[in-house]
Symmetry: C4
Subunit: 236 residues, 4 copies
């Protein structure tokens, strides 16, 4: 069942290790088959070096129930499902505890758009969510984490999730998404690199300024209707 998607999700999970975004089992990637309404996700707490494609767990998008798989799905599965429901164009979701992005989440600060590296992939600042309430933490915590993300992106910041495909959960860590499981991992790596550079940049100049003209230019050069970066037919 969904062998091709399982293979993609499995490989995207291994890429988290290759890209130095996770240690131990601290990350998870999922992918979705929107026609069938099924999500494929990494099992919970399984070491990356013994994990197989067939260990991936298939979960129903609506009910959250396991449809196939012997292992428990990632404990973050309810968060992934909320994101898939709220952001209808996304095809993959990633969660990590990558060093610099997580540090910004712990600091409660957005990763600001202060350079073209950021603007090439994220149109706006990557927002950090508000504190979760007692009801949210003591209730269905992982599902409420998803709700807090969606509230921050769509209502509080009014951000288009397709143009700024990442978020920081305060005192927790980053989530990213994309047009495929692979693309969500790519965005997780860009976010981590942008967080690292922002840390250094603010240390070197706490009063730095961004030229707002570059935000528009760089994002549109790659993603706008007249994009001219890369080769014809290539997606970014």
């Amino acid at each position: 069942m969904l062998e091709e998607l399982k293979e993609k999700v499995f490989k995207a999970n291994l890429d988290l290790v290759k890209q130095n975004l996770v240690i131990f089992t601290w990350g998870n990637v999922s992918g979705i088959d929107r026609e069938k309404g099924l999500v494929v996700i990494k099992p919970s707490g399984v070491d990356y070096d013994v994990m197989k494609a067939s260990d991936m767990v298939v979960v129903d998008l609506e009910s959250g129930k396991v449809v196939e798989g012997d292992l428990n799905p990632s404990s973050d599965t309810p968060t992934h499902l909320v994101l898939y429901k709220a952001f209808p164009n996304i095809q993959g979701v990633v969660h990590t505890h990558s060093t610099y992005a997580t540090a910004f989440a712990q600091a409660g600060r957005d990763i600001p758009n202060i350079g073209t590296t950021h603007a090439d992939y994220f149109y706006k600042d990557i927002p950090c969510t508000r504190d979760m309430t007692e009801a949210e933490v003591k209730g269905n915590y992982e599902l409420e984490t998803g709700n807090v993300i969606v509230d921050e992106i769509l209502n509080i910041r009014k951000i288009n999730p397709d143009h700024t495909p990442a978020v920081l959960v305060k005192n927790h860590g980053p989530f990213s998404w994309g047009t495929s499981p692979d693309n969500a991992v790519y965005n997780a790596k860009v976010m981590e690199q942008c967080a690292k550079m922002a840390f250094v940049a603010f240390s070197v100049n706490p009063n730095l300024t961004m030229n707002p003209l570059l935000v528009e230019k760089h994002y549109m050069r790659k993603h706008g209707p007249n994009a001219y970066y890369g080769q014809k037919g290539q997606k970014h």
Copy 2:
């Protein structure tokens, strides 16, 4: 004698190198057989790349005397023994000079619980001990180092060592422990990663705040009576 435990302790010592927690010979791992009252520990000052499982030294828990082994045990052995006596549930102890945890020890600052990465493994801040006195330093130094750790954990902070399995010795470096030699190394790695992220987080926002609800939630999600992270029967 204790071949299986020697093998475990030997491999855990090599893992310190793999996890980038030590350079040269700057670290040591021990394990305990509580029934026999014997501790197995790395020899002092031996290079990791020539060390063999049979080089591990067996020491008597009560007397501290070498029971088996041709080499001197780690000079930190008396510290390990104090920890095994004071914390009756622990099965492994680790000492390193890992970069970021040692820097916090040099700074005389606790590694604060400011995110779920920390709260997943350490219930409280990882405490930094007080300055050692002249009597302690000039007396049985390594044994007194253990006493200062135990005093800090049990008396000054009133911390449960099973729930916060690590400490910083001021101007020295980190010690960690756990349910096995392997688990103590795991906790040493988590502590180092948390120290690195705390360094970055405070640089980015010196006035950051932790949501206290997450401390409870994340620790209990993994370690509480109703833990639901990972696979059934799996320990964390």
Copy 3:
């Protein structure tokens, strides 16, 4: 056509990866045949691990038109061409988003000449350009990026580009050049290392001072008429 130069440019692009100066496709190297008035450059958005020497694109220095190659040249090609025209002695140009140099560009700060590591290769501070104007960003952006660099180097700072072979484009990242594609990559690596050390040095002492006598001495020891570093006939 220009097979030898293509090979050099191809290898110099791979060296960006080896030197940890780029992730993904975030960098480009070009080289020039000044007699023929032709520039060889990396194609746009092609992964380093599938790229071949024959993928390099040949572009006319004056018109900017593709003379040979099936792929689109790097979107930064117009910037490279402006630099080749304005700096008549340079034979290679490099652009990266390397971590520390890019952070200084985001901070809007020059990489200051505060040590002999810098002075061995760059006579002056590596300047950061002014903000680009609306006309420049909305016009022929990549060409105007080149013009802003040249304006900063030659007019605003009055720097000899052969003696200080690098620049930071504000809120964007570093460009470097040199006596060959290889030498331009070498200068990109030195710039990155100098940026990293400057970040640490200013964190450790915000009021640090440079001994100006060392600037003169070290640059001239390697590059002056009486240079005595290295072996006879060796270039630096």
Copy 4:
């Protein structure tokens, strides 16, 4: 001639690369045969990956003249010779531009003894030299660099060079020495690690304090007349 020493010096130079203390050709190691009054040193500006043991250059300690070797000796040779003459017990000298130690040199700050990692190998703060004068820089620069080091260690700070085997040359970088070429490389690595940890520690707590009792205890535990670290007969 001196084949064994050449082999040792050659391997110690390669260790600089393995220990991540140098990039390109930015470092050099020498060793001495005190009976013969001859110093063996790395040639100037030769890549580490093509260098052979037979490329090492033999220089006369007193005259500084090349006694054997087809290549120019390191341009820093006169500095090495001054150190061998002033510090009669040392058998190896190392110079690098390692990242964190060089940043402290650029900052004009000593690497302070703030932890047992430092105290295990360096009894005092690693001192940073004063600014060199015009006469020193424009005169026999590399020899005067050595004189400035010796003046700082012996006269200004009154440090025993055998107990604190390293120095920072202001706005330049670190030198270290030891009981062999290998031991000098070891000390270079410890210095770099201590500089990195001091950078982090001061960022985390600018007002940190060192317990002076630990300085005495840790240095003497390894190097004093009653040293008890390591195995019998082992040197540290």
